[in-house]
Amino acid sequence: MASASTGPHPVPADAPAAAVSVQGLRKVINDRVVLNDLDFAIPRGSMFALLGANGAGKSTLLKILAGLMPPTGGRVHLFGAPLAGHAADLRSRIGFLGHNAMLYRELSARENLVFFGRMHGLADVGRRAEDLLEQLGLADRMHDPVKAFSRGMLQRAAIARALLCDPELLLADEPFTGLDAPSARTLEALLRSLHAQGRTIVFTNHDVAQSIALATSVDAVGHGGVFVLGHGRLIINQHARLLDAAMVHLEMSDR
């Protein structure tokens, strides 16, 4: 209901195949156009990096994809189903990692995960929570309240929360921010293994080189537009000027 159903774009024939497909997506926040007529599709099983300067609308885009924010206009389909109608069913197939940890800071990491797991309706949540925390190197701190965690530990706990429901689609907003080098490597390995399992991963990142190394596709969101690669034309604006060299380079090295 929240998203307008009046997009001029027909649903493309390949929509069911795509993990994410977006047509004519607009978002206006406080009378300011943040996303303007975005059209793109992310194939299933791809690792997709969204690049863009601060304020380019990357986080907004991810929030809309996660169903946390209604778009002003346009359509979003996840796994071929419209996000607006099936939000509740789709939510248990999506993992979302935001800027903030999205955890209750008075509760311990384990309590948080058990709580969110129960909300997801998972079976054997305790075991799943402990496994995940162990995997992310938080096993010895899992009974401490989250508010005592350092930034890096908080980020790892947040990653555990995002992966709790074993999502087919992981949306990660700046997942590497605040992680030290070893943790970042662990996360990279984790993302690669998730990708190897055939999951779709969409993440935003400032680090162009890292994004390129990780991603199977790179896209950049600028001020109200997608910057386009691969069709011979590159539409940019001043916010994205820093990025275009890297992107052009990517295209050349890929071909």
Partner: protein, 258 residues
């Protein structure tokens, strides 16, 4: 592809007339509407002075009633418009509903203020007090407060969307409150039982007052609405220079990395 922002999507009353001719016609219609409203007001005031009989019991002050009751009903209608527009906004998330609700909210406050003031003059003349916590007065005071808060709270919310949502929820509950307030004030003991019996000439005068007062209310809401639409599109226009990269294309650099 240069689509109009949904933010300023067209409402039904200010749909962009296709031609200048249509625009002129609508301007003429609006002018005629206001002229008719003003003429009707002059007519009913003359009628009040020349035709309407003076109440034998209460004297001339009873004539306040001919303004008081139509204004009360119109104020109530304006509140109903706020309610409808609020439901409409939550249902469709189109900003023009919010503009309509804001317009009607302001008019509702104005009308409630007039109900209170005329009621107070009447009370002062008839019972010698400006204010008493009688059910009727309490009811109109609560109504006034409900919509005064509605109008006051709007500008304090920065985000246009949040403002629209919060005010829509408020507008819905406020209107649903009205019958509850009406019933609850009847628990207050009423020291002024006022049953008014109307002669046919009085009833005719009362009926004559309804069209101008209701038309004025509708005209005010329409004008305020048009003004709100204008302000909003002007604000949205500030940012319309953002690039409209409508021709965004799917990314095709896939699977190329080691």
């Amino acid at each position: 592809m240069n689509r109009t922002p949904t933010l300023t999507g067209h409402g039904p009353w200010n749909a962009r007339w296709g031609t200048v001719g249509m625009q002129r016609l609508s301007a003429h219609l609006v002018r005629a509407y206001w002229l008719v409203t003003a003429a009707l007001f002059v007519a009913v005031i003359l009628m009040l002075v020349l035709y309407t009989p003076v109440d034998r019991g209460m004297g001339p002050v009873q004539k306040i009633f001919y303004l008081h009751l139509p204004v009360a009903i119109s104020g109530f209608l304006a509140a109903f418009v706020v309610f409808i527009a609020s439901v409409g906004y939550l249902w469709s998330r189109s900003m023009w509903w919010d503009d309509l609700a804001a317009a009607a909210g302001k008019v509702a406050v104005l009308y409630c203020a007039v109900i209170l003031l005329t009621g107070m003059f009447w009370g002062r003349s008839a019972w010698g007090v400006w204010w008493t916590w009688s059910p009727r007065l309490t009811f109109s005071l609560v109504l006034f407060l409900l919509y005064a808060v509605y109008v006051l709270i709007r500008p304090t919310i920065d985000s246009a969307e949040r403002r629209a949502v919060i005010c829509a929820v408020y507008g819905i509950i406020a209107f649903l409150d009205v019958p509850l307030v009406y019933l609850s004030v009847r628990l207050i003991p009423d020291i002024h039982p006022s049953s008014i019996s109307l002669e046919p000439a009085m009833r005719l005068s009362l009926l004559a007052w309804f069209p101008p007062v209701v038309m004025l209310m509708a005209g005010m809401i329409g004008t305020r609405y048009a003004l709100n639409r204008r302000l909003r599109s002007a604000e949205a226009g500030r940012f319309s220079e953002a690039p409209s990269a409508g021709a965004a294309i799917r990314v095709s650099a896939a699977g190329g990395h080691p």
